[in-house]
């Protein structure tokens, strides 16, 4: 079980919650369950999301495991130069 912090732009799609508790073992499962619960998140998640797990930012590796109680934050996918 992890508490997932949403960036401000996502909150209107998730009943204006900042933090949502999700029972998930991987990033993939977490994103899927969030989408199932809040279908409005489907569009923002398409290629626009990154996930910080205990301070490490993941942009692609959705198989990354979420340790119990991990700090999980959704961020917009970063641009770089």
């Amino acid at each position: 079980m992890v508490d997932v912090t949403l960036w401000a732009g996502l909150r209107p799609f998730a009943d204006n919650q900042e933090v949502v508790r999700v029972d998930a073992r991987t990033i993939r499962e977490m994103l899927r369950k969030l989408e199932e619960r809040y279908p409005g998140l489907h569009e923002p998640f398409r290629g626009q999301v990154a996930v910080a797990v205990n301070g490490v930012i993941y942009r692609n590796d959705w198989s990354q495991e979420l340790p119990e109680g991990a700090e999980v934050m959704l961020m917009r996918r970063l641009a770089g130069g």
Binding site: N54, V56, R59, N60, G81
Partner: protein, 754 residues
């Protein structure tokens, strides 16, 4: 990802050495082929007609007279690039930027293009294209665009990120907020508060090579594109989406690249060249002029930033906040958001709040520029930090050390940090001889810190062992800063062979799986991981081949120092087999030997740097000269230290130009006044001192050798380091970048007038 990317402390033989770069001779002798150096039989020359207006509705375009010009083979407008984006706003923005549809959004926006048998005919035809414009009010300044009565760049943009959602359109495309704690309570606990507004002007990456490509569309739907880019796989996808091509039928080959720095992560002219080729039925070469590069590629944002920081007298920051306004050009992105995320990332703050506002203006589409958005935010914050240190009479380095983020700190943008390098870079700065060197007359010293995220991404690599035992390494990340040398070192390390026996090449999109582009400081970080994986896979094959040769179980074969060894007493008498020996017999042991890897390289790890700058200012003319400059940055592990140093020096050089001279200057008419290197002055060698570097190596736990990206962070601190140095030299706080001679003189005059 099955590959174990965890850091392993090990003794390295090749990694960390400084061999000559494999592409060096070609580059210094002129043999290297850049975007404009490719040619095809029957090739046409393309030129683009651009809007002379900052904002105008396109009422009609008549190409009849132009089509009659002798030698003209094709003319296209937006009608030849139909909207195939299926409601995807991001792709539509790319399409609209490549060729204006209903409105020209900025001076230089493409409105039509010609392909002709030569440059003369193409230019002549441009003059005969008749465009009827309805000129609209424009706005180019970031603050002016926020005024209630500002002309609307787009009338269908409503600010996102605010509640309730606005009902009136606005040039403020998005609001993003970050932070934690209670800033007002924190300011209440402060003994001293610094509050100031800052501005930075728009700058261009200033890459020496303009955008250039050759496009060839065939009648069977296949197409080829030779192009100067930071990411040929991304260009392939963008062009296929915009032109309705099948991805597999569009083969994109990247040329050598004469600089990109983020500016070659987006398509600009390439879809236009492909559309012209499709219409003309012949290859088309399109090379942007320098003026076009300035007017119509993607510079970085102009900004307007308010910062407020409070601290106790003993040097503890109690609260920090910033409002950051970033100009986006006509297409909203996330530049202000990145500024808001990075602004206070160096510090451990109990109370912090940042707000980023994305502002639309009638200027070219903003794009990434090396650690995009971070340098401007760092300029504002590090200037205020410096001022605050002065006010509480505390050494600027000590003040930063006291408040620096460390492992376990909740970052200002949210996540908690793992092991990070800001503290070590600051302590290295404090101990560096530069900090205690005496200053001369009219000289000042400044220092500043910088942060960038870094990231990895999708990466695919092929490693082929040739018949003579040499190795070809095919990668899909464009080499923008010496990565072919670094990756060859990595392959040499893993295989246990000589660097000279490895040839790294950038494969085209038809011969390798998808790769994300070279951005986010990911080139060496990501592709080294894939190279390690590919090399280990090749070693597995070679162990199998040795086992076959010796007719022993593969479990009894181990790899060491570039040789297969038979393990255990029962095989003692067998001489080890080298890569060359295994390669020579490959035909009879199972065929070619290769290692392949496809992976996602995540866990890049954030990056920090500290810079020190001495500057001398002539109080009579306002001219300034950087007399000493030092870069201290964490590389995790420097694979090829010379190219790490080169990245540090290059970032500093670009930052110095940004801080002191570079500036997009727009007239009242909304047109760019200085689209050339004579009037837009980037620093040249004679402007700069030797930039000293110090590489720190704090291993990244998420890379086998501990590598971190190093390409971007070095441009983050210079704006602030220079502003602090000039401010300390002249005794006046400089809050407007670039700190050009007229601005210094004006500040000195204002100070003298009281």
């Amino acid at each position: 990802m099955s590959f174990d990317a965890a850091y392993q402390d090990q003794k390295l033989k090749s990694v960390g050495t400084r061999p000559l770069r494999p592409d060096g001779v070609d580059k210094v002798t002129g043999r290297a082929r850049y975007g404009a150096d490719f040619n095809m039989p029957g090739q046409l020359v393309a030129r683009i007609l651009r809007s002379p207006h900052a904002h105008a509705r396109i009422k009609s375009i008549d190409t009849n007279r132009a089509e009659a010009v002798k030698g003209v083979k094709a003319i296209i407008t937006a009608a030849d690039l139909p909207d195939l984006t299926n409601g995807d706003a991001g792709t539509y923005a790319i399409l609209d930027n490549c060729m204006a549809r209903e409105k020209a959004m900025y001076d230089g926006h493409a409105v039509a293009a010609v392909a002709a048998i030569d440059e003369h005919a193409a230019r002549k035809a441009l003059k005969f294209i008749e465009v009827e414009y309805e000129v609209l009010p424009h706005v180019t300044d970031v603050d002016a665009a926020m005024e209630d009565d500002a002309p609307l760049v787009k009338d269908d943009v409503f600010t996102t990120g605010v509640e309730p959602a606005p009902t009136k359109p606005s040039n403020i495309a998005n609001r993003a907020e970050f932070g934690h704690g209670d800033v007002e309570k924190g300011f209440g606990a402060a003994d001293v508060i610094v509050e100031r507004s800052y501005k930075t002007e728009q700058t261009h990456q200033g890459y020496i090579e303009p955008h250039a490509c050759v496009a060839n569309c065939n009648s069977d739907g296949s197409a080829e594109l030779w192009v100067c880019t930071q990411g040929h796989f991304v260009y392939r996808q963008n062009c296929a989406d915009l032109l309705g091509l099948e991805v597999s039928k569009l083969r994109v080959t990247s040329s050598e690249i004469g600089g990109g720095f983020g500016g070659k992560t987006h398509v600009w002219a390439e879809p236009v060249a492909l559309a012209l080729s499709r219409k003309a039925g012949r290859p088309v070469k399109l090379v942007m002029s320098r003026e076009e590069v300035f007017r119509a590629s993607g510079p970085t944002s102009a900004t307007s930033i308010d910062v407020r920081i409070g601290a106790t007298k003993d040097g503890k920051i109690t609260a920090a906040e910033a409002t950051l306004r970033y100009a986006s050009g006509p297409y909203a992105d996330m530049w202000a958001e990145l500024g808001a995320m990075t602004s206070f990332a160096c510090y451990d703050l109990e109370n912090v709040k940042t707000v980023g506002l994305e502002i639309l203006v009638n200027r070219p589409k903003t794009t990434a520029y090396r650690a995009p958005s971070a340098p401007m935010a760092a300029f504002a914050v590090e200037s205020a930090i410096d001022e605050l240190a002065h006010k509480i009479d505390m050494d600027a380095v000590d003040f930063r050390i006291k408040n620096a983020a460390s492992e376990g700190t909740k970052s200002s943008y949210g996540p908690v940090y793992g092991p990070i390098g800001i503290g070590p870079t600051l302590r290295a700065a404090k101990e560096h001889p530069h900090m205690s060197a005496p200053l001369g007359k009219n000289q000042g010293r400044g220092m500043a810190c910088g942060f960038w995220f870094n990231f990895g991404g999708q990466t695919c690599t092929d490693l082929n062992v040739n018949a003579d035992g040499t190795v070809t390494l095919a990668v899909g990340t464009v080499d923008v800063g010496g990565s072919r040398a670094s990756l060859s070192l990595i392959a040499a390390e893993e295989l246990g062979i000589e660097y000279q026996d490895i040839k790294a090449v950038i494969a085209d999109t038809a011969t390798l799986g998808y790769n994300d582009m070279t951005d986010g400081s990911r080139g060496t970080f990501s592709t080294s991981m894939a190279t390690i994986s590919a090399a280990r896979n090749a070693i597995t094959v070679m162990r199998e081949r040795a086992a076959l040769t010796w007719d022993i179980p593969v479990e009894d074969v181990y790899w060491e120092d570039g040789h297969a060894h038979a393990a255990g007493a029962k095989h003692d008498n067998r001489a080890p087999l080298s890569v060359k020996e295994l390669a020579a017999e490959a035909g009879n042991t199972g065929g070619p030997i290769a290692g392949h890897s496809e992976l996602v390289a995540d866990g890049a790890g954030v990056s920090f740097a500290t810079h020190i700058c001495d500057i001398e200012v002539d109080p009579e003319t306002g001219s300034s000269r950087v007399v000493r400059y030092t870069v201290i940055q964490d590389a995790g592990k420097a694979v090829h230290p010379s190219y790490v140093e080169g990245q540090y020096q290059g970032g500093a050089a670009q930052g110095i130009g940004w801080a002191l001279n570079e500036e997009y200057i727009y007239g009242e008419d909304g047109r760019l006044q200085n689209p050339g290197f004579l009037d837009y002055r980037i620093p040249v060698c004679s402007d700069l001192p030797m930039i000293d570097t110090q590489i720190l190596e704090i291993p990244n736990p998420n890379h086998p050798y501990g590598v971190r990206g190093v390409g971007e962070t070095s441009i983050v601190p210079p704006l602030a380091a220079i502003a602090n140095a000039v401010s300390n030299a002249v005794g006046v706080r400089m809050a407007h970048i670039p700190i050009s001679p007229p601005r210094i003189l004006a500040a000195l005059t204002d100070a003298a007038d009281g």
